[in-house]
């Protein structure tokens, strides 16, 4: 993986991010805005799966509309994230917080589009079960972990 990070750091994108005065600040601001949208949609979907909010709404409808928001913001987060990594690629590569974040992100995305999605669609037919609640709790925990580890990159 290390050569990939070195290449990213030496790429045109990396060069731009390292030398531009406002580049990093602007990209980071967009990253934060997309994070807000992702955080909001995760919370709404998972609280629905826990039976806290939108009890009368079908989970299928919520899934369709909010997954679109989640997916859109995820794409923006990943693109701006790559640009931010290119600014200090090797530092990220060796950062424990960054490695945690990437691991949690991979697990969170995988979980969201498999087990979590299955629980959402099943909830429409079977109602809320212990399984759907556990899936919601795991999902919130994973995404929270991604956010906390992400913030920690700047501190560690």
């Amino acid at each position: 993986m290390q050569p990939l990070f070195i290449a990213l750091g030496h790429s045109a994108l990396g060069h731009y991010m390292q030398t531009s005065v406002w580049g990093f600040a602007v990209v980071e601001a967009i990253h934060l805005l997309a994070l807000a949208v992702l955080g909001g949609s995760v919370l709404v979907v998972d609280l629905r799966l826990l039976g806290v909010i939108f009890r009368k709404e079908s989970t299928r409808t919520l899934d369709r509309d909010l997954s679109r928001l989640l997916l859109g913001s995820l794409v923006i987060l990943i693109l701006t994230g790559i640009a931010m990594v290119s600014e200090e690629a090797l530092k990220c590569y060796f950062s424990p917080a960054f490695r945690w974040k990437m691991t949690l992100l991979a697990v969170a995305v995988l979980f969201y589009f498999t087990i979590h999605r299955h629980a959402l669609l099943r909830a429409d037919i079977n109602g809320l079960t212990a399984w759907s609640r556990i899936a919601a709790a795991i999902s919130m925990g994973l995404w929270l972990g991604v956010g906390v580890a992400g913030r920690a990159i700047g501190f560690l």
């Binding site: 600040a25 980071e28 601001a29 934060l32 805005l33 994070l35 807000a36 949208v37 992702l38 955080g39 909001g40 949609s41 919370l43 709404v44 609280l47 909010i53 939108f54 009368k56 709404e57 409808t61 919520l62 509309d65 909010l66 679109r68 928001l69 929270l144 956010g147 906390v148 913030r151 920690a152 501190f155």
Partner: protein, 169 residues
């Protein structure tokens, strides 16, 4: 004239916060500031992210078949919970940096945007939202509600960006 009296007063108050026991403790602790700041960032995410769901509903972008008041009933308690956490954590951060924050342009802009967001919400709730029963089933809300939604999305985006920028000054 008011500014001449007021500004040294505010600066003095900020200095008092900065020099206080609590402010100094947070500032000098290794972990307090990063931990409080993480809580602040994540709770602001919840405020802006959940209010965005209501705003996007009124603009007709998502949940078009769900009545607006039902969306508001589900989403606003989350927004308010997030706001309480972000206000308390934000105040603690300010406490430890008050003297520096006072002159910080990003901090000042953030406070102005927060006040404007509060005003926007007040105008919305005391105005067009009172007749929501009549229009809540429409895919997109009336223009006054759509304007409030766009203003809300803009202001909260501005609050996040200005908040991040505090650290750059």
């Amino acid at each position: 004239m008011a500014a001449i009296v007021f500004e040294p007063f505010l600066q003095h108050v900020c200095q008092l916060f900065y020099d206080s026991q609590i402010g100094t403790t947070i500032r000098e602790s290794d972990n307090a500031f990063p931990i409080i700041e993480s809580v602040h960032v994540l709770s602001i995410t919840l405020v802006a992210g959940t209010i965005a769901v209501l705003d996007l509903r009124m603009l007709g972008a998502i949940l078009r078949s769900t009545p607006v008041r039902r969306v508001a009933g589900s989403v606003l308690p989350l927004t308010w919970s997030g706001f309480v956490v972000s206000f308390v954590s934000g105040f603690l951060l300010f406490w430890s940096e008050a003297a520096k924050n006072y002159g910080n342009p990003a901090f000042r802009i953030k406070l102005v945007l927060l006040i404007l967001a509060g005003l926007n919400s007040l105008i919305f709730h005391t105005g067009i939202y009172r007749s929501a029963r009549e229009w809540e089933l429409a895919a997109a809300a009336p223009w006054r509600a759509r304007v409030a939604a766009i203003v809300s999305l803009t202001l909260w985006s501005g609050i996040i960006v200005a908040g991040r920028a505090i650290a750059y000054f």
